[in-house]
Amino acid sequence: MSAPPAEAPAGRRRREPWVTVGTLLLLVLTMFTVMPLAWMLVTSIKTQFAATQYPPEWFPAHPTLEEYWRLLSPASVIGQEFLGYLANSVWVSFATTALGVIVAVPAAYAFSRFRFPGRNLLFYSVLLRNMFPAVVFLMPLFIMMRWMGLVNTHASLILTYLTFGLPLSIWLLKGFYDNIPVQLEQAARIDGATRFQAFLLIVMPLSSPGIIATAIYSFIMAWNEYVYALTFVNEKSRLTLSVGLHRFFSEFATNWPGLMAASFIMSVPVVILFLFLQKYFVKALTEGAVKS
């Protein structure tokens, strides 16, 4: 970042003016991105007293991990609540991801390979689902969950996340299947494999990067989801993190370091997951929209 690129790729030619503008902009945007995140971290290692000083300390004179210990210790009341929310989030996100992959894989494969009547209609309705605002679904789903007795259960969240993750998962996976040559399957079938065997033994292993990308995407979506979690689950012991933070905030209204520490802990899993698997994630985002 800080190293000024010394004409490296362009050789002896004059630098593109667009590149100069872009580099300057990158610098500004990096500050814009990083400084708030740094402030989250700095605040989280302050004491409550130090956080409410004016003017604010840029770096705490006495940094402390006190808030983190409290949040992550099963002995404290706040810790118990917080760890409960964390466990709920982990469970809901995992279940959503696993079910999503199981349902999306065959559907995406069918959309990629078969030409059955109604295929286009179905596929566009799958795409259109991306356009629907969550709020449109909130009321009827709430009524439906009440009718099925699922209000205040994790099942209501898993079921909902599953469906609003599905269209995107199908779309992403279809892109991956489109890129796997159909000749491979044909060869397998000539060698005596059934269509299903060809799918399971040839296509599935080849599409594992696609499945990983889709799974990460579903996991992050489920982990971060807020509006359904807010509406469907009120029982304190069943809240997920995104709503749990809200409770935490309103009960300890002035504890900003605690809230920042909790926000940081909530962000860590998705950021780690994302940084490790960035390549797949980026592919997941841009697949379909960009044709190379």
Binding site: A3, L25, W39, A110, L127, V135, N224, Q278, T286, A289
Partner: protein, 313 residues
């Protein structure tokens, strides 16, 4: 149904039912997905439209609902709060999309060449996009805090203002403040889309144009832009849709306040539905929003499938 399925040349194409029968095994693969989607997508859409014609009791005893025709629609469309929310929604959606796209495209141009630390930088810039909107909203609420907020302290220290500004409790600044947060959260999305688009622009073409003496502006305008036009379109549409659907940032940061100054359609609908428990009214409101989204959806599908017609598969 059957009428439209009659094909002009029956010799070439089988009848609809014959074709369905022939492909019957194919449907098994999509059946689980279709089942889930019918239950959680088609039914809710139908039910929202249905409820929008009823007055629902506040205790949600839906068997007591009263048919009111299009009354809910006229009440929504006539209300002042709807007009204010509509204006806020336009401001929010337009400026969020504009800045997210421009900054994202700029960053993509900056990232679209090889330099040390490029992968790391891209990862760092994407962090706001992947973290939870809830965490981001609390963070920015703290940054904008009226007494201990860091931005207030900076404006005082640099002499811009005498006292810290209460950004979120000020009808004049609240929308702009929320848009800053939203752009912070979603410009990385535009960046990554446009970066993927820029990488499809053939290098030889740009070099050839330079040899022929085309200037930077002309190369950008005549080579880069035409190549990334469809990605641009998809990105802008997705940003528009996302911004029209935003809930978390305005809800957590201001809850629509002060005095409705940051109330947008979605938060307004949520408030009517789950604050005032007026499902019928909120359903009518949702249907209006829904129609707007469908119009955008039409362009989205067209933009996405446009390339399919040309590309041989």
């Amino acid at each position: 149904m059957t009428g439209s399925a009659v094909s002009p040349s029956p010799a070439r194409r089988l009848g609809l039912f014959a074709r369905i029968y022939r492909h019957r095994a194919d449907y098994l693969y999509v059946l689980p997905a279709i089942f889930v989607m019918l239950m959680v997508i088609a039914y809710p859409i139908y039910y929202t439209i249905y409820l929008s014609f009823f007055n629902t009791p506040p205790n949600l005893a839906l068997e007591d609902k009263i048919f009111v025709g299009v009354d809910n629609y006229s009440r929504v469309l006539m209300s002042d709060s709807f007009h204010e929310a509509t204006w806020n929604t336009l401001v929010w959606t337009f400026w969020s999309t504009f800045f997210a796209f421009v900054l994202g495209f700029g960053a993509a141009i900056g990232l679209n060449r090889v330099f040390p630390g490029r992968g790391l930088l891209r990862g760092v810039l994407l962090i706001p996009y992947v973290i939870s909107a809830v965490a981001a909203s609390y963070l920015w609420r703290w940054i904008f805090h009226s007494d201990f907020g860091v931005i207030g302290a900076i404006t005082v220290a640099t002499g811009l203002t005498d006292r810290p500004i209460n950004f979120l409790d000020n009808t004049q600044y609240v929308m702009a403040s929320l848009i800053v947060v939203n752009v912070w959260k979603e410009f990385p999305f535009a960046m990554i889309m446009m970066l993927a688009g820029l990488q499809t622009v053939p290098d030889q073409l740009l070099r050839a144009a330079r040899v022929d003496g085309a200037g930077a502006w002309s190369r950008f305008w005549h080579i880069t832009v035409p190549h990334v036009r469809s990605v641009m379109l998809v990105t802008v549409l997705l940003l528009l849709v996302t911004n029209l659907n935003s809930f978390t940032i305005p809800y957590i940061m201001t809850g629509g306040g002060p005095a409705g100054a940051s109330e947008i359609w979605i938060t307004h609908i949520y408030q009517i539905a789950f604050g005032r428990i007026r499902f019928g009214l909120a359903s009518a409101y949702s249907v209006i929003l829904f129609i707007v989204m469908m119009a955008l959806g039409y362009f989205y599908v067209r933009a996405l499938t446009h390339g399919d017609d040309k590309a041989p598969r």
